[in-house]
């Protein structure tokens, strides 16, 4: 019987090692997989390569992986934020590498990875610093740069609803990168607010089919004092 539900957060995160690359879905607070990130802190892995649009903010979620110094590499579109000063200093002292992608290029690179497209041309960033060093080509008289697929070992996703096969629905703008990351990672781990019976979701409105999901755990809120470093 195909059942992707894990009995515990620990089981859902089993096997993640130092140096792993992890895609973290979410945009602002919308769709940030806080429970999985909290579990990762408890696990104490380090030297992670995080792929996420932002660097997180405040004293919860992705920001706490930075505060615990678990991250050595960040691929994102917007590193500026609450942690701007710290991230700048870590980049300067060499303990953190930040790779900035245009947001749409990052989304498309992740989609490409999940869809078996190793590279594509995009007009975005042509003639800019973020296009430097990249192969270029004109199409219809307009410059384009070649971008490659962005893969990862793991994807962390927050869903509104899931069934035991891993079919998912997201709520409003929590969707953002989730469907793309779920396809692009070797192992996709989902925290779901509601785990429903198979068939409870209309097949027509499932947003991520279970084939893209590997492990599923029941969401619960993470309290402020569970993050290990107080505000």
């Amino acid at each position: 019987m195909l059942d992707r539900r894990c009995k515990s957060l620990e089981e859902a995160l089993d096997g993640i090692e130092d140096g792993a690359s992890i895609m973290v879905s979410g945009f602002g607070d919308a769709g940030r997989p806080n429970l999985l990130l909290k579990g990762l802190i408890d696990k104490g892995v380090k030297d992670l390569h995080i792929i996420s649009n932002n660097a997180g903010s405040g004293f919860e979620g992705l920001a706490m992986l930075f505060r615990h110094r678990m991250i050595s590499r960040l691929t994102c579109s917007f590193p500026r934020g609450d942690l701007g000063k710290e991230i700048s200093s870590w980049v300067r002292d060499g303990s953190l590498t930040v790779e900035v992608n245009p947001q749409g290029t990052m989304a498309e690179r992740i989609r490409a990875a999940g869809c078996g497209i190793p590279a594509f041309f995009t007009p975005t960033a042509y003639g800019t610093k973020l296009g430097e060093g990249k192969e270029t080509r004109d199409f219809n008289g307009k410059g384009h740069v070649l971008e490659t697929a962005l893969h990862a070992d793991y994807a962390f996703v927050h869903a509104e609803k899931a069934d035991r096969w891993g079919n998912l629905m997201y709520k409003n703008l929590s969707r953002n990168f989730a469907p793309l990351m779920a396809m692009a990672a070797k192992t996709t781990i989902v925290e779901a607010r509601h785990i429903v019976e198979l068939g409870d979701m209309d097949p027509n409105v499932i947003m991520t089919p279970g084939v893209c999901v590997n492990r599923l755990v029941q969401w619960r809120p993470v309290a402020a004092n569970e993050w290990g470093i107080a505000a």
């Binding site: 195909l2 079919n167 396809m183 097949p203 279970g210």
Partner: protein, 225 residues
């Protein structure tokens, strides 16, 4: 020596499909595999027109024109099915998310090359459909075919003579006579129908066959049922 029927081949293939696999069954002989999937396994059938969790043919009179498979035949949905568009469907294929695709075949070469879409190079309506995407994208391709064509042509070859569907993609071949793995060293026969000899199977094949140490009997599972 009794060769397997088409159903016999389908029943044998079905035995090897694991619980939890997502499987695309090509048009033709592979479609029959759906009728023999082992009880107790959650196997999700994918159809490239946009569904995971394809169910059996509906009863006559209950067809819905919005529920068809890649062969345009009426289908149903199983509980837990999901629907998506063509870009997503082929993203699932090309991205390597399907554990298995079963395809019919005209010819398979010992390096895993497959020819299954066009008999000649000059057919003005040669129709590929999703075969090349499946050949390039699925985690494993199993080919189902008669060991020899109707007029006796050999189909396990040193090199395909018909237009290729994909290079080096075939992992295993199920015929009416044998089950043959495609290995880095070429074809390796793992099962033969009762009464078949290594010599005769080799005679019916162009490429050199090797035989597994524990090469077993290819059972007719339609009779057992």
């Amino acid at each position: 020596m009794t060769p397997l029927t088409r159903e016999g081949i389908a029943a044998r293939v079905a035995q090897d499909i694991q619980d939890g696999w997502h499987v695309n069954l090509g048009i033709g002989m592979p479609e029959g595999v759906a009728n023999f999937l082992p009880e107790g396994r959650d196997i999700l059938l994918h159809s490239e027109n946009g569904i995971l969790g394809m169910g059996p043919t509906p009863p006559a009179g209950e067809e819905d024109e919005s529920l068809v498979n890649a062969g345009k035949k009426p289908i149903t949905m199983i509980t837990g099915a999901s629907i998506f568009d063509h870009a997503m469907s082929f993203g699932i294929i090309r991205g390597g998310h399907l554990e298995l695709c079963c395809l019919g075949g005209y010819q398979v070469a010992s390096n895993g090359d497959l020819a299954n879409w066009s008999v000649t190079d000059d057919d003005p309506i040669a129709s590929v459909g999703g075969a090349m995407d499946l050949a390039a994208g699925a985690q494993r391709i199993w080919v189902m075919m008669q060991h020899n064509s109707k007029n006796g042509d050999k189909r396990l070859l040193d090199a395909c003579t018909m237009p290729l569907t994909g290079q080096g993609c075939v992992k295993r071949v199920y015929t009416d006579l044998a089950v043959i793995d495609v290995t880095p060293e070429g074809f390796l026969v793992t099962e033969m129908v009762d009464g078949m000899t290594q010599e005769e199977l080799q005679n019916r094949s162009e490429a050199k066959l090797r035989f597994a140490e524990g090469c077993g009997t290819l059972p007719d599972l339609t009779k057992a049922a």
